[in-house]
Point group: D2
Amino acid sequence: MSKQQGRHFLNIPGPSPVPDRVLRAMDMPVIDHRSAEFAELGKQVFEGCQKIFKTKGPVIVFPSSGTGAWEAAIVNTLSPGDKVLMVETGHFATLWQQMAKRWGLDVEFLPGDWRHGASPTEIEEKLRGDKSHAIKAVMVVHNETSTGVTSRVGEIRAALDRVDHPALLLVDTISSLGSVDFKHDEWKVDVTVSCSQKGFMLPPGLGFNAVSDKARAASKTNKMPRSYWDWEEMLKPNANGFFPYTPATNLLYGLKEAISMMLEEGLDNVFARHKRLAAATRAAVTHWGLEVLCQEPEEYSPVLTAVLMPPGHNADEFRKVTLEKYNISLGSGLSKVAGKVFRIGHLGECNELTLLGALSGVEMGMTAAGVPHRAGGVDAAMKSLEDADKSNAPTHLKMVKP
Amino acid sequence: MSKQQGRHFLNIPGPSPVPDRVLRAMDMPVIDHRSAEFAELGKQVFEGCQKIFKTKGPVIVFPSSGTGAWEAAIVNTLSPGDKVLMVETGHFATLWQQMAKRWGLDVEFLPGDWRHGASPTEIEEKLRGDKSHAIKAVMVVHNETSTGVTSRVGEIRAALDRVDHPALLLVDTISSLGSVDFKHDEWKVDVTVSCSQKGFMLPPGLGFNAVSDKARAASKTNKMPRSYWDWEEMLKPNANGFFPYTPATNLLYGLKEAISMMLEEGLDNVFARHKRLAAATRAAVTHWGLEVLCQEPEEYSPVLTAVLMPPGHNADEFRKVTLEKYNISLGSGLSKVAGKVFRIGHLGECNELTLLGALSGVEMGMTAAGVPHRAGGVDAAMKSLEDADKSNAPTHLKMVKP
Amino acid sequence: MSKQQGRHFLNIPGPSPVPDRVLRAMDMPVIDHRSAEFAELGKQVFEGCQKIFKTKGPVIVFPSSGTGAWEAAIVNTLSPGDKVLMVETGHFATLWQQMAKRWGLDVEFLPGDWRHGASPTEIEEKLRGDKSHAIKAVMVVHNETSTGVTSRVGEIRAALDRVDHPALLLVDTISSLGSVDFKHDEWKVDVTVSCSQKGFMLPPGLGFNAVSDKARAASKTNKMPRSYWDWEEMLKPNANGFFPYTPATNLLYGLKEAISMMLEEGLDNVFARHKRLAAATRAAVTHWGLEVLCQEPEEYSPVLTAVLMPPGHNADEFRKVTLEKYNISLGSGLSKVAGKVFRIGHLGECNELTLLGALSGVEMGMTAAGVPHRAGGVDAAMKSLEDADKSNAPTHLKMVKP
Amino acid sequence: MSKQQGRHFLNIPGPSPVPDRVLRAMDMPVIDHRSAEFAELGKQVFEGCQKIFKTKGPVIVFPSSGTGAWEAAIVNTLSPGDKVLMVETGHFATLWQQMAKRWGLDVEFLPGDWRHGASPTEIEEKLRGDKSHAIKAVMVVHNETSTGVTSRVGEIRAALDRVDHPALLLVDTISSLGSVDFKHDEWKVDVTVSCSQKGFMLPPGLGFNAVSDKARAASKTNKMPRSYWDWEEMLKPNANGFFPYTPATNLLYGLKEAISMMLEEGLDNVFARHKRLAAATRAAVTHWGLEVLCQEPEEYSPVLTAVLMPPGHNADEFRKVTLEKYNISLGSGLSKVAGKVFRIGHLGECNELTLLGALSGVEMGMTAAGVPHRAGGVDAAMKSLEDADKSNAPTHLKMVKP
């Protein structure tokens, strides 16, 4: 839809590019959401979602954005005045914390520098100190879309276990699910929040809650008013493939197709691809002489890379020039890092050549905008991809049948 | 997507059939929701919505179903314990009333027989009796999707005016907007609730609130917790064409196209077409010897016709046979009228021949299911359409250019 | 694309309505026509075509209209001056005959009244008289699109066999293939000519030649100049799934999908459906008091019905009014029957309700245009369909899975 | 449709990538090709074609591949035994020459080395020697798709003029039209042959002949049998927007949209873009230490670059590895240069970043396939694009509206 010539490069960290197969699956007549045909569709997407969230429990699908799924997680499990522990990993963690406050929660918000993930150690200490179990939930963001930093959810779970704390574990996987490995059941996550427009490679419009038995039990007694987001209202008809109110039918067509694509590629291959592309991106950034915002290699995001601008240069000016000249959208720095950071998305329908096209746009955009950098970043990215290829069995390749 | 041969007839009272133009408009790559290009789209759909809702005030668009828009109307204007006056026009009025109770409202629910609209007189009496102005809102459904009865919103407004009652007027136009004339500003409606999948001819996934100044003022002081549905959070970025969280971009593409189609046809022509098709449907029903659920000719719904089954015959059995044999979906009877009523949708992308095809399916389905009826209903519908045509200047026709 | 509201009824006898599944299959990026992926596609469509033509021999697919496939049949098998026997079954037989003359053939054109198919008896007599075997080919049209009359190809083959005549049998199945049973191998047809936009339910753009060994042998020695249409040039790369020049790739995507749909429904069910809809159409026509052009019940076309206008009424005027008022396209009378006949297509993606919608348009169009007729034709058509249903095991139904 | 992950890079020199707008325009119901609505479409595409061919005369559109349009040019203007002058610029010139021979023409085929365009001087000499005007036509290929060499058609026209020779000038613009400037009227070309799947950015399935008055006069007396390709049969109904036989309707929808896109961008901008991308491609190739097949800078093709493999390396092996590893299709070497050359297409819907993605694929593919080269080619291409940008007013940019 861009007014510029040719294909637009959508390299924001979500919404991610939607594959043609998914768009075309959605481009079909709406069906009766009370029909047997719909029930079949409903069951298929619920089963498919369980594979992606790695859970045997229910996955609830709302007609909403991810923000709605945040709200659903809160209003179904907590009560006004409940204490919760959150971590300031970046802009979206901050927004979720604001939402928690709006709903009357007593949030302890561990400060962060936006360059590291949530610290399992720090969480462990806080919980250990909470002898009375006043903390009802630990709420963390798996992949901070504003910073390109992932938090180690498995280790956070281990921290909870070590201190034997009964708090619920609520995790935002909005920009990680389907791109970064995530194990709802194995990590005993209580509510996993996600949405359609990132790893699922769909247009925006669906919000998800994967729900543990413990979370569901909490929802039976918690004290938040709710109707639209109420899990039980959803789960009753969901059991037969239906919804309590009109679902976003065509997005469900797309969801079914997207899950098929993910399973055809193989989830492990999907995750490996994201890591490989992220490493190539960082190789380019480093070669350019710029700094990656994330400071902890273990926490590098596979789905986006946030890049610090050189002092004296504004990221939004650079993004504007790059968009106008090279027809590519990059993510802006948000809030605390506005103007200081730009973000390169490499998630969803992204492969080696679309990434390298995008990195070329970044490199030429820096030249056009007068941002000092060392040429050759795309070269460095290619080298990174070639090296990855050599060291790896090419499990990521699905050969064309002879 | 039906497994049966040929085009499926989607004659439930919504979701309505989506025009190819709209589906194709949606079948385009997602764009950056923070870009100048998006802002243009956002402004266009907001302006377009104002024309359809007939308001100069803001129209808020949520990524949600219509149920979400119900909730938004409540949580932005009312406070727990507030008294509201609602009218049992049918299943959906009942559901909205249940939602109101879940949110702690003190609902006075005027009983109804599901065969008449909300009575302006009765409302007037109730309000006249409310000297203390305890009633904070009157909440009515413009077109009861479960019964095919419309309520006279203009007269209800006049009733409020006559007794000079300050209650807010909240109206559900979920299945009427864009099919039946509705005047948000002229009728001084405070919140108009609607959604995408009926008169707007879109897939489900968008909810709407048109908001009066008075409603907005109420939202500044009311006491319901909210975040996702909060109007002010929406209105700030909306002013520039943006959204506070990721909007359902591709549905907005479709909304823009659908509004264009509605304005190309002309709203008055759209409304006249719905009335004409509804009259033809009733002509068929009457000829068959069946009874229309709605008992008040002034309140016949232009968007759907609910039909009473002959005693001893189950509507769902009939619908099942008809679907299997003739590839047409009809609406079921809901709740109180389950099994006793079926509903024929004739809204959105519907014209003479698609209606007559649908009515043929109903007539043959009755034969197949052994439902007693007088043959010739489709004939009667054709006669009705021919008569409408004679008596009317053919404003409904857009001639093919020579 | 019609400027009128709602779905257009395309009831010309081809191009036929294209199913959404087929349109969407075509709406995909073009692939390299020299790739392994393409070869797979090529082989799939060739194999699929063999099932539809009922042949074990090659089916050649040209990027062309059906007219091109006519030409290909001629230039690959015959030589200038060759005598051929053709039958004037209608407009298209006449056009094919003109083409044959343009290519220098000596055509004996058996006159016809446009109300009967080619007479096997008459052909037998002609061939019996041709002791010298001067006649090199018998060329007939299986389904005359201009008249709605089918010719009995099986009986014509039997006639050739009875007199043991070596002439090639070339058959135009442009508007019959995939809608009316046709057996290329069993009937020993030498060239079967067809195209994409009728029974195949595709947009126009593909022409077909199914070729017998005998025809192929003839092509080795015949004396027509040719390049584009040359079979051997095609068959060489076809053996591996490829084409000698760039094929109409996206139409091939659609062809693959259309063949899948036809086989899913079952060819016998497809043929039965066309017969059932044709019978219903004739029931309406007869009830209206109008005359079906075809005079031989055995030769009624399952794909279209040509209807004689009452004297003093012009078919094109009627068609124009009907299009403007009811958004339906009907076929015109061609050449000898221009203005005297209109044609109702009921082929390809057509089911009971779309047919009845269309017949409603015809009936109301007659009223609007002042064409005298007896009301109730749609009723009669419904009765016909109901009767067909009763007398038949419902093999045409594919039940929605429970 | 590739089985590999993510977007396929279609960098063969045609079919070129089809823009989403064009695919979606084609994804609409077929309309009656005898209707007023169709006539409007027909006229629009004919007028649009005249702008792209730069002619005031007729442009004929066949449902065919480009090969069919070659044939149409021959059979409408020449007679068996006619002498024609052709030039061996590469594989496609050779194929057209073979076709000419099949049609009984007496071809003088000026030999070439596949690395230069047709020599205006050599043509001039041949024509000067042809005192009797035995040569009836000069037939050249504007852009040799097999070699990436353009021929200077304007200079060839000047050569004809200088010797005042009456031969017709037939030009194949199959892979140049809409990408390289071409002036049918100004250069007095008699037949311009083209097709849909290159500069027009459509799927394959349409062939074009732009026809001069002189060519049309020749068609009145020439002696080739023809029917499908006959210009006069086309031009009669074309005058009213119609076709003599069923046209490829949905490709015409796409053609209308594609022409709109080309005119929105501006033809001069389209041509400049192709040149800029071609220069960048050559910069990469040269940097890699490989040789461009075309030896004459004035004749470098703006639409594709053919690259010589280093001795001892097979181009098809390289292409296979590159396709499997990086999901990109490159063109093969054809006939004389099979295995020795690969071709990079940069035409149609192609912009800076899609080109750089493709060049990255070529560079990494060489590494993967063990083809010796100097790294840094993509860098060199970026430099070339940046330099082009500096030296040029950015007429190629259509800024997003504020």
